[in-house]
Symmetry: C2
Subunit: 442 residues, 2 copies
């Protein structure tokens, strides 16, 4: 039986999970591939700690170059994370004709173009299912299952940690700080969980999905990012009154003459299927011109789901290698042009619906002042909640606008925050996404 030899660089949580899959499901995988997948070497700086998986200790090395330089190894799996070293190993492995599996979303989102070009140059395959959505096969679906479609719209809950935090805030009425603390204590969040809660991680993943949808590398730096740390349980309650849930959404839209790409807290209609994605789950909702709306849902992180994706990539490559193919398709499932760049629409050109909350003195004429500013900026109000005073001090005024332009809304916010009746430090602006759930089949 054909043997496919694999080298693993980075024996952390996901690396150990990958080894566990290869051990536990070895016979099943051998049957599915028609070849035996052999883990020939594992490199890590720490080769002493027990990872809870049984391996022959002689395959461990502290020198990743032993893997990169091993002519017998067909596939290297890069799971060290970070950018510099990971990039170096990947490029060297490709140069030596090895196929690469990686879960490194930051690397692909920042230096994807270089890596995709190297894969092309050295005629090797690059697989990165684990970089987005944990075990959810969303990358394979975009590259293959939906390949007949122009992707018009992507809306993703791509960060499990922030979704977990928002779920606790929503279901248990917790303030942000307490929900974060619990998430850290339970091991769902790092301490501090900066990249998870500030939108960076979700923007990395959106950059990857959008790159495949368009067939052109998109740098995550061009994606607008806003985190969840200013959200309050009060906004979640107001959202509910308007019929919405609060989620950290990654949104991309093909506008025909440009592309929208942004990560920020957003209100989603409570009957939209994304509204029911809770806890640490991820989901990607997308629309193709023929397939219509699709949703993919599962655990977006964790040792076992991520290992499932890594090993499915190894199997994908093994099936090709067995047939003597180097690259069935390029990384983005399109030939890579060296020049093309995607221009992301500037955020200020966005048109959407806005939720706005002000804290203002409970005096006659306040609402008139605020709505006057909005009106002068061409923003029309769809509904208002103004709660009576329960104590002395400022009271919340909450509004949903009709569709408006981001630039106008930002300008109106500045003006309103300068009104002496408004507590400018407590103003909140949240974008609203309208969904398509419940529409009928054609």
């Amino acid at each position: 039986m054909h043997q496919i030899k694999v080298g693993l660089i980075g024996f952390g949580t996901v690396g150990a999970g990958m080894v566990e899959v290869l051990i536990n499901n070895r016979e099943l995988i051998k049957d599915r591939v028609g070849a035996d997948i052999v883990l020939k070497k594992i490199a890590d700086l720490d080769i002493d700690s027990d990872r809870g998986v049984k391996i022959d200790p002689t395959i461990l090395t502290t020198d990743a170059m032993e893997i990169v330089d091993d002519p017998e190894i067909d596939v290297i799996v890069e799971l060290i994370g970070g950018c510099d070293q990971a990039m170096e190993y990947i490029l060297m492995a490709m140069e030596r004709g090895k196929h690469v599996v990686t879960a490194n979303k930051a690397l692909l989102a920042e230096y994807g173009r270089e890596i995709y070009l190297a894969a092309d140059q050295y005629r090797v395959s690059l697989a990165f299912e684990a970089s987005v959505g944990g075990g959810i096969p969303i990358i394979r679906s975009l590259r293959e299952g939906l390949s007949a479609n122009r992707i018009k719209n992507i809306m993703g809950i791509l960060n499990g940690t922030s979704n977990y935090i928002l779920t606790q805030m929503t279901q248990r009425d917790l303030p942000y700080s307490q929900a974060v603390k619990e998430a850290i204590d339970l091991g769902y969040a790092e301490d501090p969980p900066t990249l998870d809660v500030d939108g960076t991680d979700a923007a990395h993943k959106l950059a990857i999905l959008l790159s495949i949808a368009l067939g052109i590398p998109v740098s995550f730096k061009s994606i607008y990012r806003e985190g969840i740390d200013r959200l309050t349980p009060e906004d979640i309650r107001f959202a509910r009154e308007f019929g919405y849930c609060l989620k950290l959404l990654a949104v991309a839209r093909d506008l025909g003459d440009g592309v929208e790409a942004r990560v920020h807290p957003a209100m989603v209609p409570h009957d939209h299927i994304l509204a029911n994605v809770n806890e640490a789950y991820n989901a990607i909702y997308l629309e193709g011109d023929f397939v219509g709306p699709n949703l993919y849902y599962g655990l977006g992180a964790g040792r076992r789901p991520t290992a499932s994706a890594v090993v499915s990539d190894i199997i994908y490559l093994a099936r090709q290698i067995k047939h003597g193919i180097k690259t069935l398709m390029p990384p983005l499932a399109h030939p890579l042009s060296r020049k093309e760049e995607i221009v992301i629409q500037p955020m200020e050109e966005l048109n959407t619906v806005y939720y706005i909350r002000f804290y203002a003195d409970d005096k006659p004429g306040v609402l008139a002042k605020i709505s006057g500013v909005l009106g002068r900026n061409q923003i029309s109000i769809a509904s208002v909640i103004q709660k009576g005073r329960e104590a002395y001090g400022p009271v919340p005024i909450v509004m949903l606008t009709h569709e408006a332009r981001e630039k106008s809304v930002q300008e109106a916010m500045k003006e309103i925050n300068q009104l002496d009746v408004v507590r400018s430090d407590k103003t909140m602006l949240i974008r609203v996404e309208k969904g398509h759930q419940g529409e009928r089949a054609q």
Copy 2:
């Protein structure tokens, strides 16, 4: 540029959709495949009707054998449906070395083994993404994206027509007969919609999914089927009181020492993600041993979504053909043993929770009689709703059991239906599925 030549047999709704995709997205697809997909011939008995797509009329023929026998054609797409003729064309095409794309779930569910063996024998590929879940890439996900996993559990809403009917019954409190009538009027259901509402169509699709999960053809005949025609808006309301939604579910479970496979109305907890799959949407929820819970959601039928799946299959084959590969993997993504058979657990051995509704005379002692019979059959009751009489005549008594054995429940039902206080024609039994939504990531 390489050309891949395709012949289409069956120019109906989906066939016309496929042509539309190939025309509308031709440049995009050419770019993604790196080859030009050319539709060389279309066979249909009716070559005169306008399908709303622009084609060169000289490619039309009434003789499917012109396609089967054309040595230039690489891929045939079978979209005539039905079993006899479709089977014949598929086998002849395979014999002539052609790859096959089909959307024919009935054929695969009944004669899959024969077709998979022929693909093996003639070393050609068979692709059938459109046979389950319309445009949802569930077959590709099972064959590839989840290939590292042992699939433990599948729960699917696989028939859009019955889901549409149940959604109307639930949201608008309509009786079954009226919801069906509306579905027929709106074109969501055939008249009569027998195979959709009696569970046959969903069982066909479950047979296909289970075959891939196990790597062994499963005949749909071994799958228990029960339809939705006896459900009432009253049961839907009681279900809601207990915290459940009513769905027509296709369920398969790998029990280690056997396999469960069944299609019937089932109650799903209202916070399970499947509970929010409404209208004509389909969804497949599954659990793998590493990936954990996953959900795939989209339009399960219709011209455009189904055409999306058909063309993604053509692209999949074109990418292989371009590289000179005949079969990257067998149809079920496992080598096919000629002998192995799956034994489906007899329905009477099922253990689950049951919803039972009786209509009984509103007399003292009735509940005691009914619960006595249940107790003697080892069925314990978890909760009871007994509504007071609003008019003369029998009143509903509704129960949820703890986990019980199907055989015992059926025997108890028979006994209870013989009680003179019970209106036996109005007894209802619905199985309850417990879900895993809301559980935490590992």
